[in-house]
Symmetry: D2
Subunit: 382 residues, 4 copies
């Protein structure tokens, strides 16, 4: 049977542009879906580079102005892969143009922007989703499933961190295409929006709403040369952020993120301790889930290292055979598959913009608490 | 610049057919190569199924008789993904037709067949390679690099095993499309050709020739129903095989494989102990290499767990960012990339048929030793 | 040569009484010291039980009133192994009687009590030490040594937790000999004084003073039957405590402890991230130290798992041979050895009461912050 | 109640002399037994050194001639901790003198000697035991218990190795007090008797008799200076040994030992794969047992890392609290406790000399096979 095409317009061709393009191309080979992703156009300011990218990945056309792309009739879906400060404007324009929207995380520079984006997509009634891809690492999806099945019982503790070490060198500049994450004007915040946002998204999804937070942030390197101005400028982002939290379900949490933890390239970990069982996951070995079940006979009780590669584990029947692991990129393939399935079933894939706004509200409360030195309540979406 | 097309004719659409197709499609997105893989035709006996496969993966045409495919003028490269007993006949025909050939492992049912295949491709002068894909898992490639740099010094020990647990159930039948690996007529041998062949290929590559071996094999389940005949028939394959070996460089080795090791889905591991340093790798966490260097200051000496995901580690600059792991399928992408690079440079990618015959000779000696109960010398290629 | 006897008077014969007695008996077999520990007397209220204990461990005499023991002329050293609310009174009396004092941790119920104890021992001029034994697990001592050598460079992050799961059952009572740790009148606090105190002691020792903290505590089970009264009473201790901290050296920290983390029996872990290197340790595998050194060649860089069992690693030349691990109890043997060596050299072994008061001040600030909901400065000793 | 004294006469004061002395002194503090170990005498040729040792450990007297010690009326038990070539003569004399005998492993230089020793102790009717201490590491005892309970079902595979790296330096001499293990005249063999004997003892205990073996050995360093002669002499021991084996229960095995495996100080590991479950243990983390149970629900199936420190796990109720590990030395304490309990119950603790002769018979078959290059049957005790 013929598949219905979804014509993609990708804005931005950096790291995430590659990850998404790869996902669009692979999803149909591994998942049975009534939709087909068509790489219709890619947009970026540098025409030569965007043409190279289009050729390499098979995009049918290029644009250098996102406004034009958003208005094209032959585009069904706009995928926003540009720095954070551009998300809101593009998303709102795309919503007005009636496009489906996939937006890179974090949703926005702050919750105020995020609210406008939610309003826009909901008013337009367009399918929308944010690329919090780690929800769809099979081991993480399995963690969610085990919690939802009630295997853990009452939750006492949640613990997450995201540790990196790539900005310790003080000679690293800020800004520009490669290093906009270090420039507060483009990124909005440092590790809070870039890394903790992932941790928060997973936490809200698995463990429910966070009621309040108490945070500290630090900028270890106070000044860095700016790529665009060529001058040494104050660094406005948070290099590190840690916060205490209380969930609405009564559980306690600690969250931490930094780019100054030697030895950790991208160590996103979370642990959940429940009355009966506990879970632990680690991005550096993303295909494993650690699970402890107190109901095991005491003499043989221990943490189980689950190699998530069997057909009855989330998403894995679509891939290879037991024992053969998938990697980082597959989380994006799964997200596209779920988005397309959501179109088919009418049950939208999550996180929607509305879901992602919840994460943004936590980020805002965290950054506020770091300034006030007090506990701050997390705002509500509506 | 325009890329030169390599028109692929794939024979077989099972597990390996998918893995190879995925590799052909991905390689151009992640590697800069002067060649482009074109999915020209796929061949299998079941026309309905092969059409489905062609549609899903984008093959331009289908065949149901491999003889026709091999003769087609619009095919440059024949990829053999069918059970072992068909490798020789197809490969020899393809060589005579002047096609490049990529053949699944093991090369052949035995060394005698393998010699004919080597003779055929060398006479025809066609590029040829065998899919011993694990050489191109980045951590394994790094292991080879470290040994070649002399970091280990004199090698004392090599130790490899490949453990699975999927055939413990005696109700599992043998034969047919799914379970031909349990049917000696299609597979030639059991774990020796299926699993130990991988271990041997890596070992020969990293540690040089094996001089002699002493082996034992066992068939734990003596009879299984045959899928094709519907009758309970004797099981002719080896369920388990272990052997002692002496390498020509004076090092000692143990090799073991089984499909009766509960808890191990596809645990291929190898360890190399040298005068100065040691290495360990494990397919269940394929993105890590364990490395011990005795030259580290004694007080801080320990096994290093290297997360092979940095740009200066083999193949990794083509993928994501440090800390984000790739998986099983990427080894095939790397193998295609290297094959194409070999076409460009004239330095053929390895293992060629000739290299794979070396592995076959070790397998033959192993199976002979298991029968004779004695040490057997490993034959030489020419 | 004859050794000088140190006549021990032990008060309390519980878990710690056994650990200390074992240490006094073993130290002379494994360390060369000019002193000999003599088990002179053990004291506890239950005469029958204390006699049994004395017989089993070889104490020469018993007392049932600690006041008498403290006054005995044939006692050189008083070892306080009773619940926290008794530490101050006994220690002050022992100091006045001119005895050396070893006191279980935490030093006191709070810093006010602790100040009096410090004043008493310093006025009396008696050798004094607190049993923060984890400093002398060889891997922890090695961590301290590596930091002191400057291998880590500037410290950015410190991260410690101490997780247990033994009080999740709501039917567990509070109070009495076995469960005084759950009774706030005997223990002073819950996990803060019992577990976090260990984490804080190590942190201060390795990373210097903590300037300020922001904490939260929780009591998950609000009421428990009291062993002594037989009535259900409010639980006054903290079941869980987490806090953010800033060290005076500019590094950021998170600390957490709980008795509600399923799967963790006594998981004390700490990690330190410095400019050049990082360290991680874990009480569940106490004989290993994880060490990452960014100065390793990038291609073979990874976390080193150091099996701390070589003769050139702290304390290990006194034990067995490389590869053969020691356990929990040995940390006490090392502490006795160091205390005796301190007597010999005049360089007192640490932590002294004064050092332990620093930890108490952090605990007080933590508990205060949990009440006020604000950042609290840590008080200074004098 | 008064305990019955067992007066120990220890012969040899090296590494094992210390380990045993420590065990005799500790056992009464941690185990309730009707016997008390009395350190009556220690014997060695160097009078000054043996006096030092006696003083340090509290032995009441010394001897410099083992023949005198064996004849003393005030000795109940002779503990043989001298090089292997002296075991038989001393044990036979001690048996004739009616002493209980504890003998270090391996039992003898070969099975012929071992048979005489068995005959002597059985004729004399004296309690006897061999120090294969690893049976009594709690995790190993637990492994035995799980197999005996039938949790694994039919056993398919056994896999053991004992890897060290301390003799790679060619300048290391052979012979003398410290290095007699490198001198074939004192040791009888190299790694086979020293290390593989441990692996074999455990294997026979857990998995039953070995029917036949096929082995290879190697001496990497062919000549070393001899400590006693001062001359460079041929090295007669095996530096490395690996063998294939078939157990009588139909399972297949590989065994390997070497002193040339960089990075491994004393890595004794074993793994057992059964129909339903598998086990793995590792001396470098001796307090853990890895257990996989295929009967776990498939979605949460994984290897469980059991931290063997709970009161219901073997021996652990005698020690500390959950999570706090014991070490190498405790296996000896457990062995003494079991020996004394055997005296009480009349059920002798194992392995007796007769049990240890089974191990010796396997060692003999292994060394013979290494010479003949063929499979060799394992002899039977009687």
């Amino acid at each position: 049977m013929a598949k219905k095409p979804i014509r993609i317009g990708l804005i931005g061709y950096g790291f995430m542009g590659r990850a998404h393009s790869n996902a669009y191309l692979k999803v149909g080979h591994f998942f049975d879906l009534p939709y087909e992703c068509v790489l219709q156009a890619v947009c970026a300011r540098d025409e030569a580079k965007v043409r190279d990218f289009a050729q390499r990945w098979g995009y049918a056309s290029v644009e250098t102005d996102w406004r034009k792309l958003v208005q094209r009739d032959d585009i069904d879906l706009v995928d926003i892969c540009v720095p954070n400060h551009l998300h809101a404007e593009i998303a709102i324009a795309a919503a007005r143009a009636g496009k489906m929207i996939l937006c890179e995380k974090p949703l926005a520079m702050n919750a105020a922007e995020g609210r406008k984006m939610v309003a826009a997509v909901e008013k337009a009634g367009v399918p929308n989703m944010v690329w919090y891809n780690y929800r769809r690492v099979p081991a993480v999806t399995l963690a969610k499933q085990l919690v939802d099945e009630g295997r853990l019982g009452r939750i006492f503790h949640y613990r997450a961190k995201f540790l990196q070490d790539w900005t310790i060198n003080p000679d690293l500049p800020q800004g520009g295409t490669a290093l906009w994450r270090l420039d507060v004007k483009a990124a909005g915040s440092g590790v809070t929006g870039d890394l903790l946002a992932h941790c928060i998204d997973t936490a809200l999804w698995i463990n429910g709403r966070i009621a309040k937070v108490c945070a500290m942030t630090e900028t270890f390197i106070k000044e860095r040369k700016h790529v665009e101005t060529g001058k040494v400028e104050k660094v406005g982002i948070d290099d590190a952020c840690a916060f205490l939290a209380r969930f609405e379900n009564g559980s306690l949490a600690t969250f931490e993120s930094t780019r100054y933890a030697r030895g950790h390239k991208a160590l996103y970990t979370f642990e959940i301790n429940g009355e009966h069982a506990s879970l632990f996951w680690d991005l550096h070995d993303l295909h494993r889930l650690q699970y402890f079940d107190h109901r095991d006979p005491s003499v043989v009780r221990g943490w189980r290292s689950i190699h998530v590669s069997d057909a009855d584990q989330p998403y894995m029947k679509h891939w290879w055979v037991p024992g053969l692991q998938i990697g980082y990129e597959h989380s994006f393939v799964h997200q596209v598959a779920d988005f397309l399935k959501g179109l088919e079933t009418g049950q939208p894939a999550r996180p929607t913009f509305r879901d992602a706004l919840e994460t943004q509200l936590v980020c805002d409360a965290v950054l506020k608490s770091a300034r006030t030195g007090r506990w701050e309540k997390v705002g509500t979406v509506s």
